[in-house]
Amino acid sequence: MTTARTLQFKIYRYDPDTDQKPTMQDISVEIDATDRKLLDALVKLKAKDDAIAFRRSCREGVCGSDALNINGRNGLACLTDIASFPEGKPIVLRPLPGLPVIRDLIVDMTQFFKQYHSIKPYLINNDPPPERERLQSPEEREELNGLYECILCACCSTSCPSFWWNPDKFVGPAGLLAAYRFIADTRDQATNERLDNLEDPYRLFRCHTIMNCVDVCPKGLNPTKAIGKIKDMMVQRSI
């Protein structure tokens, strides 16, 4: 439980319709003991100043809408505990780094989704579908755990220096995690094609195992490990 208190914020504000350049707004809000998460406080802030723009939807960490840079670290507002903020210090909120800002805390995610789409994120199996389900053992299915749960919030890719430098060329941790999700699926027949698609100095190999992605993933996933497995497969098939 949190306690009733006043939270001080420094929030990145920019409306291209009216502003020449971005500013940091100082604003505070009273919260109740029932306000557990940062998103609860943001909703109260918006009641105070309706022009603060941010995305939000499920408020339980499954839709991936409310990813922000919170005190310098990427995370979901709906999963960030208010109690984790030190007293007496303003909470600094910025849009996710490395992507163009549309307004305030809302970034343009086009480049992020373009990379996701580039790995062909769908099952490829050219056999005629059987009448019933394709069989898969519980062990084979287990291989997908830690991969399929991604919510596409972009916390990982926008914390990755390699993605900052080459968002148009490096697929980034989210896209590569998805790529391995299909490679690891026993029902998928396009492993070679998928590896070909990544065999390039940038698309896969710009990952330098900095592991910021693992550090910030709000779902506890490990893109670096998945990327490592793809790299291993590349090596294996070249021998």
Binding site: M1, D15, P16, D17, T18, T34, R36, K46, A47, D49, D50, A51, A53, F54, R55, R56, S57, C58, R59, E60, G61, V62, C63, G64, S65, L79, I102, R103, D104, I106, M109, F113, H117, K120, P121, Y122, L123, N125, P129, E131, R132, E133, R134, L135, Q136, S137, P138, E140, R141, L144, Y148, E149, I151, L152, F182, D185, R187, D188
Partner: protein, 597 residues
């Protein structure tokens, strides 16, 4: 804001990219039709993503099952208010639709022999109500997430054209009543467009945000339902709202019924398994309305838990921790995040929470929108389709069974898509001309919002509405509270008609979006309160004090007078009724009887 409206033409426009919209889109895109999918959030942010426990299908992977048993359970669950033709259609289509998803790549959990894993769920029984059956096809407790992503991925493969972060504003209907598309706002620029189409499919989800305490996402604002109401389409059975038994106390976040499917038990302050008293046969796996009422009764009678005795406990501490971490990993995470409880060791505090809108835009089982006309009570509105939670087929009647919502959106999303494809391919037609007043309603709404002075606050008006709905139309309903509620909600409606926003920017103006959403929410709230006040019986999720359980009228249900669907019209705030279809497609009618679990 400029009054300029750019018109774009498509064969079909789908509004909403949750489960129903994405399923319909697959049908249309794969048929090669020029289709636009308009969605106010990126598709995988839609609320289908939050579904947890599973999707119903009588695959029989772990024990014998049959669609006819599923149909019986659904009719009984609906308290006989569901249309039996639509229910038979849905239950018979279930296997095909779930297998298709598996073929799309959905990562279902597996049985030892490699088939789709199935778990028991509330109200799903074998052999016409005998004992719980394993019918819910699950991907851990993330079924909705796995399903929504698989369907989005299939749409990428099919090259579906999405308009992401575009908000549909109003339905375009001409003098003959034909639907010709929608108006919409591109959120990034604030520009207004019209999507001129030959088929318009609404898949906009429910409006669970009319209540203060809701499992629903912020985006569940009944946009399609509000648009339909403003365009003269009646809303069906809006008094029926599902309160899910297990929302996290205080936070409202959903805890899947799959927890009880895996062996979880509800306990009161005396640690008693109280469901044994209310549903001796199905116990904790009785239908949701039954369980929610039992919980509220326990709390009202002083056996609630915690310092304020205002919740009950959901206990899984007796289950094998490995099973919990394998089958319910998301629940473990939610317990820690939103209740501060490790459910391996401690019980979860839960309370009934608004979850699902059983009513909606009236449709037939082909997904076509139907309204009473001169000749019949179900005349097709040309060019208009609806599927999923925004629609009322009606398969859920007065109470929905868990896992039937994901099934509904698959079956009717597909069906609406198929019907639209058939119509467009069989009788190719050119676009009918847009009427001169096509954009008037939209432009008037936007203009009003831009120029409003001294108006009401969006946040405050929304809170007023949510608190009123919670107090006057909750789990148990009272004649005097409903009467007061109608007056209150009509007063709040006046506030909503003069909301004022400070933010006037054209760029991603979320204040404007929230005000426009409130226009939709309030239509649903009024429809709900007025329909609920008028229905003088208890049935399914609608239970009122002046219709108690008596020997003449078990459970307070009054079939002689109230075995009928409500239809609320915005114009004149009036009600009409139509009969329930008790005739299935191929089997005998499931005869009326008293509902007990």
């Amino acid at each position: 804001m400029s009054a300029k409206v750019t018109v774009r033409k498509f064969d079909a426009v789908i509004v909403g990219a949750g489960g129903a919209g994405l399923r319909a889109a697959i049908q249309l895109s794969e048929a090669g039709l020029k289709t636009a999918v308009i969605t106010k959030v990126f598709p995988t942010r839609s609320h289908t993503v939050a579904a947890q426990g599973g999707v119903a299908a009588s695959l029989g992977n772990s024990e014998e099952d049959h669609w006819h048993w599923h149909m019986y359970d659904t009719v009984k669950g609906s308290d006989w208010l569901g249309d039996q033709d639509a229910i038979e259609f849905m239950c018979r289509k279930a296997n095909e639709c779930v297998i298709e998803l598996e073929h799309y790549g959905m990562p279902f959990d597996r049985t030892d022999n490699g088939r789709i894993y199935q778990r028991p769920f509330g109200g799903h029984m074998s052999n016409f109500g005998e004992k719980p059956v394993r019918r819910s096809c699950a991907a851990a407790d993330r079924t909705g997430h796995a399903m929504l992503h698989a369907m989005y991925q299939r749409n990428i493969k099919a090259n579906t054209q999405f308009f992401v972060e575009w908000m549909a504003l109003d339905l375009i209907r001409d003098a003959e009543g034909e639907v010709l598309g929608v108006t919409a706002m591109e959120m990034e620029t604030g520009e207004i467009y019209a999507f001129h189409s030959k088929a318009t499919i609404f898949a906009t989800g429910g409006a669970g945000r009319i209540y203060y305490s809701s499992t629903n996402a912020f985006i569940n604002t009944g946009d399609g339902v509000g648009m339909a109401a403003r365009a003269g389409i009646p809303l069906e059975d809006m008094e029926f709202w599902q309160f899910h038994p297990t929302g996290v106390a205080g936070a409202g976040v959903l805890i899947t019924e799959g927890v009880r499917g895996e062996g979880g038990i509800l306990r009161n302050a005396n640690k008693e398994r109280f469901m044994e008293r209310y549903a001796p046969n199905a116990k904790d796996l009785a239908s949701r309305d039954v369980v929610s009422r039992a919980m509220v009764t326990e709390i009202n009678e002083g056996r609630g838990c915690g310092p304020n005795k205002d919740f009950v406990y959901l206990d899984i501490t007796h289950l094998d921790p490995a099973t919990i971490m394998k089958r319910l990993p998301g629940i473990h995470e939610i317990g820690i995040q939103f209740a501060g409880v490790d459910c391996l060791k401690e019980m979860l505090p839960v309370v009934p929470t608004c979850h699902y809108q059983m009513g909606g835009i009236p449709t037939n089982y082909h997904g076509q929108v139907v309204v009473p006309g001169k000749r019949t009570q179900n005349e097709i509105v040309p060019g208009f389709f609806a599927a999923g939670e925004c629609a009322c087929a009606s398969v859920h009647g007065a109470n929905r069974l868990g896992t039937n919502s994901l099934l509904d959106l698959l079956v009717f999303g597909k069906s609406a898509g198929e019907t639209a494809v058939d119509e467009l391919k069989k009788s190719p037609k050119s676009h009918k001309e847009l009427p001169a007043d096509a954009f008037d309603r939209t432009l008037a709404r936007l203009d009003r919002l831009n120029t409003q002075k001294g108006g009401s606050n969006v946040h405050e008006s929304r809170l007023d509405m949510q608190r009123s709905m919670q107090k006057h139309a909750g789990v148990f309903r009272f004649d005097n509270l409903l009467k007061e509620g109608v007056q209150k909600i009509l007063d709040i409606q006046k506030d909503v008609q003069q909301t004022e926003i400070k933010d006037k920017s054209k760029v991603f103006n979320t204040a404007r979006i929230e005000a426009l959403e409130l226009d939709n929410l309030i239509e649903v709230a009024v429809a709900t309160m007025v329909s609920a006040e008028a229905r003088k019986e208890s049935r399914g999720a609608h239970v009122r004090d002046d219709a108690p359980d008596t020997p003449e009228r078990p459970n307070g249900r009054d079939d002689a007078n109230w075995l009928k669907h409500s239809l609320w019209y915005k114009e004149g705030n009036r009600l009409d009724y139509k009969s329930v279809n008790l005739r299935p497609l191929s089997v005998d009618t499931i005869a009326l009887k008293t509902r007990a679990y």
